[in-house]
Every structure is written in C-alpha cells, then in structure tokens.
Point group: C2
Chain length 345, copies 2
DNA sequence: ACGATCAGTGTAATCGATTACATCAGGCCT
DNA sequence: AGGCCTGATGTAATCGATTACACTGATCGT
C-alpha cells in the first residue's frame, strides 16, 4: 500500500503538503494541489485511517450496540441511525450482545480502544450496563441511551412514551368493558418494562380499578417466560378477560398458548400488544398493536449523538417519541361473544 | 487515558517490558510481571488498539457486510458468524448496504483503511461488487463470499445448495401432478437467482416437461416486483397451477396478492417458497418452505475466514450447505380441491 | 526603503503501541 | 580464567498519518 511518503515523493512535495491537500487546507498552491492529486490517482493511494485516528484521536465511525439483532424493533431503529450516520459521512458499526452483559462490556471496551467517535446503546441492563458505559463517558466518548435508560448516568436518551402507550392500551381495554386485565410485563431493570407497567397501573387507577397483583406477571422479555406467564394467567381460577402484552415477541408466544387452548383473541380473551417485530403484523388473527416510531427513534438518537460530538458540553437531553394504537378491525367487548367469521389472510 | 508509558513509570520498568507482560512474552521476570500487573490495575490501563493496530498492521476485528439487515435470512447468518468470531476472541462489526453498491464500496474502503482483519460479504451484485472487493483481496485482507458468489474473484465461498433446493421443490410440485409451474425468480447477477432457476429447469427437463418462458418471471428479489410478477402470472390466459417463489419476502407479497383474489394456496394454486424470514413461519395458511441452514452458513463462512487469516496461502474453497423442504401438512394435488378446514393459528 | 504580514512549503515532533537490537549479569563449560 | 550462552531488560526505531513551528519570498503600508 502506498503511503503519504510515496505520494509526496512522486508529487515532488513534502508529506505535509500532501496531507494539506488531502484534508483541504486553504494555503496550498493550485499546482501543488494538482500534482498531489495526480500522484494520489496514479498510486491508487488511500489514507490509512488507523494512522490518522491515532494522530487525531478520533474517527469517522460510530457504533450502535443492541441486545438482539433478531428483533425487528432494534433493527428498524438501526436503520434510522444508519441513514443519519451515512448522511453525516460516518460509517455505522453494529454490535449485537444477545442480552449478555459481558459481551456488551467487551464491545464497549473494544470500541473505545479502537477509538470510535460515538456510541448509541440499547443497554441489556439499565443499571449493570453502566459500569462499562461509564468508561466511555469518562473517556469523553459521546454516548446516547436508546429505548432503555442508563440508571444514574447523565447521558442523552431517546425513549418511547411507554407510560402513555401502556395507559392508552389499558384505557382502550377498559373502554371495551374489561376490568380484569392481565399484564405480561417486562423487568424493572429496563425502562420499557418499568414504564409500561406504570402506564397500566395509572390507567386502572384513573378508572378506580384495583391493581390485582395476581394479574401482573413480570418477565425478562424472553418469549419463553411469556408462555409461562400466559399459562399461569389462563390457569388461574378467575382468569383475566383481557391481556396487555408488553413486547411483540412475547405476544407471539401468548397467542400460541391461546391457540393451543382454542382461545380466540377476538372472541374469548382480548389482547393488546406492543409491536416489536414484523411478525406482529402477520398474526392470525390480527390484534390491536401499540406501534412505536422505530425509525424515528433511531434518527433521533443519531441526531443527539452527532450534536454531542459537535458540542460535548451541552446538557444531556431526553427525548420521548409518540406511540400509536393500531386497531386491526374490531375488538370484542368483555363478555360479548360475537366470533366474527374467519377469512383467509 | 493512561498509556504504556504511564504504566512503565509506575511499575518502574521500561515500556518494552510493559508490552511484553501485556502480550505474554516468556522472558519476563515474575516480579516485573507482578509490578506491571499492579500498575495496570492501579491506572485502569487499557491498551490503545489504534496504536497497536498501526504497529502490528492487523486487528482483532472482522466485519460482515450484508445487503439487508431487515431480512432475517442475513441476520440469522450473522448470528452464526458472530458466535465463531467471539469464540476466536475477535469482535464482529456489521455493515448494512441496503443493496447499494456505493454503500458497499464505502464500507469496504473504510474497513480496509481501518485495518480490519477479514471481511465476509454477501455482495449486492455478483459482478459489480467485485471492483471494491478486489481491493481487499489485493491488500491481502481475507474475504469470504457468502450466499452469493463473486464473479471472477478467487475467494472462499459458502453457498446454499440452490440448484438442489429448487429442483427438490419443483420435483415435489410435479409429483403432486402439476405441470404448469410458475417461477418467480431472482436476478441472474446473484447466485441464488441464477441457480434456483437452474434447479427449476433441471427438474422440468428431468420429467420431460417444457420450460414455458411465460411462466418464468425474473425479479431482483424485491417484494414489490414479486407482487407484479404474481399479478402477471395470475392474469395470464392460462395461469400456472403452482408457483415456486424464490425468496421468502417475495412469498409474503405473492400470498397477499392471492388473498386479494381469494385464492388459497391449499385449494387453488400450490405454492412453495424459499424461507428467508421468520415471517414465513407465520404465513396464513402455511405453505411448504425450503429452509436453509442459515446459522450454519454463517458459521462455515466464519470458519473459512479464520482459516484463511491463519494461512493466507491455502487455495480458495467453496462450500455448499444442504437445504430442506419443510412441509406444513398437506399440499393440494393439481386439480384437486379439498379445501381442508381452517383452524386458528 | 524597511519592517510587517502572509501565502506556501518543509522539517520534525507526535499519537501509543510493538519490537529489533543492544546491553548486562550470571551460570556453565572447558 | 576466558568464552559462550541465556534470561531479563532497556533504548530507540517503527507503523502512517497530522500539525506545530520554522523558514522563504513576495506584497504591502508608511
């Protein structure tokens, strides 16, 4: 590989001049500029970024760390980040942690050691992830928390309006006459888990309904746990007449369990779920879904990151993005049993 | 951030000794080792990989470039790669190109400039992608082609048995009495597009059936084109009695179009599709799917990559991985019209 | 006409690691 | 005792860029 030195020799100038040309410095004569350009062309020279990064102590790379690359929610968010990064002439590197704290820490450490310009992270644990993330912050590497807050770290954060979403969904079920509403919730150590439960409780309280602890099943968002939670709820002596499922992947499992029991969400037990995956759009039958603006979530996170890269001093901001309740057709009122005819697809 | 120098001073040794300790060289006294370890600990020292990479001209990072991060096929392959990379104590960086040649080239250039140790690429164009990839090969950076061959580049390659898969699927339809089988194919410039068509034609030929060009619609694998192709086929004066769809995302669109026309794949027009996405497992109704061992595909690619990183001289290998035809329940024979009763989910 | 300013350029230091080479002490062999 | 090997360590070169600083001539203002 050709180096600046080679280019300098061929162009008959010093390496300093080559570098100035390459980086668009103003005080270079047009001739020098032209000769360097020709030499670069001739040698097929491409600057070594490792050397550059070492010298300037920064890079044109930003990274995003997500817990599950198979979950369409995160992937869709990544798309939003990606487009912003590309537009800013950076490249985006993606790390997948599989919800493993150690893998997450490893990614962070390597990225820092490799001099990444910024990190967007959807932490696998709102509290315990902070140990590793803090290292980034301390090194002055901009960090944006995505979808999940970093407990006790003062960083830019982009979140969905989980409380509002959950409350809206619960309100909706209550409006349809349900009073015994099961909740298949996420863990307290993750923002969406915590806040979605809060929205649910707020809605119940607003309607003077009690929170029955027996109706609330806390999971760690893993589909297998959703299955168990659904079984417990459905096996209860007095099962709920509706359920709010706090993740899309979990909803798929809940519906599998209901199918086994010949329960139809339009007839027997109403279901509303957060929409994480493309899968949800294909559920048979369709159910009401809480959709999040995933792409915009990613965009917003990337914008915050670049803003901070540009001005590291500004105070940390937290953005909340709207959610929507997406109704398929109609949802059964509690007690009713219309069993609308099925139709293909 | 602390540097080797700081560690050296604190430990009372030279930077050379620090480096030797850090890299596990044999000839270091136990005391020196201990003192360095303590200094490292005390300072929270972490080696700067940029500097290291510059010096040793390599890194512990491998990259995979895929055309569509929203397509579960690729993502699942990535998981296979990832696990191997982690096991080999490397980290994996993922680039998504959205089928854009320019983005692909940009990723490759940046990765090379950043000194990546190896690249696994699922090219967005079997021929035109080679321009950029060739630069990697010429720089001596190991490259593995994944799922799609790089025309005219002699690199390690991992492929699915596309011909066999397609032939098996077509055989299956023929065995069920179909003679007019539509093909919604992929483009010739991608291995899966080309080979799946070949398998289809081989199967027809083996049974003495003619290849009717009117039944073959070539697409670029984009779902929207699948929709058009399906429309054309179904609108034909003599429509096919069965269709083989060469990608999972396309199959979803084809089924949408059939649903609009009230056509049931179990009753009216048989359907077999390649299984790319989780979506396919949730199709209503389910159809026969050709499944590929995506995870193993990724694993194999990663193994080839590491093998080559270890020994750059070995001749390029091409691996073919088996596929399976996954039957849901039963598929209608041509002309039959059983319309088995529907059941939830 | 003389100093100040400035455009254009080069020399060499620098980023933070690795490592070739030099050095030195001690042990061993003859 | 002298030479040789070996283990442990240090000095300084090196990777390939950027850039502080120095220098040269030319231009300009007074």
């Amino acid at each position: 590989m050709a180096t600046v030195k080679d280019v300098a020799v061929l162009a008959g100038v010093s390496t300093a001049t080559v570098s100035r040309v390459l980086n668009g410095h103003p005080n270079v004569s047009p001739e020098a500029r032209a000769r360097v350009a020709r030499a670069v062309e001739q040698l097929g020279y491409r600057p070594n970024r490792v050397a550059r990064n070492l010298r300037v102590q920064t890079s044109q790379t930003v990274a995003v760390i997500i817990p599950d690359i198979q979950n369409n929610f995160f992937v869709s968010v990544v798309r939003g980040i990606e487009d912003v990064a590309i537009a800013r002439d950076h490249i985006l590197l993606l790390g997948n942690t599989d919800d493993s704290l150690s893998r997450e820490a490893r990614y962070i450490d390597v990225l820092l050691a490799e001099g990444v310009a910024g990190i967007i992270i959807c932490a696998s644990d709102g509290e315990r992830s902070c140990v590793a993330v803090r290292r980034a912050v301390e090194q002055g590497v901009p960090v944006v928390a995505l979808d999940r807050q970093l407990q006790g770290l003062d960083v830019d954060t982009v979140l969905a309006d989980n409380v509002g979403a959950s409350r809206m969904a619960t309100d909706y079920l209550i409006a349809n006459g349900h009073t015994r509403i099961g909740l298949i919730a996420g863990p307290d150590y993750l923002t969406p888990g915590r806040e979605r439960r809060e929205g649910y409780e707020q809605a119940l309280a607003a309607h003077g309904l009690p929170v029955d602890p027996g109706l609330v099943k806390v999971t760690d968002f893993r589909p297998s746990q959703a299955r168990e939670a659904a079984q417990t709820l459905l096996d209860a002596p007095e099962p709920p007449t509706a359920m709010l499922v706090c993740s899309g992947l979990m909803a798929v499992e809940v519906m599998r369990e209901m199918a086994v029991r010949q329960l139809d969400p339009r007839r027997d037990i109403a279901l509303v779920a957060f929409d994480d995956t493309v899968l949800n759009r294909c559920l048979c039958p369709p159910i009401p879904l809480i959709t999040q603006s995933t792409y915009e979530l990613g965009q917003a996170a990337a914008e915050l990151l670049f803003a901070r890269m540009h001005d590291p001093q500004q105070p940390a901001r937290t953005l909340r993005l709207q959610t929507r309740l997406l109704l398929p057709e109609s949802v059964p009122a509690a007690g009713a049993s219309p069993a609308s005819g099925r139709q293909p697809s």
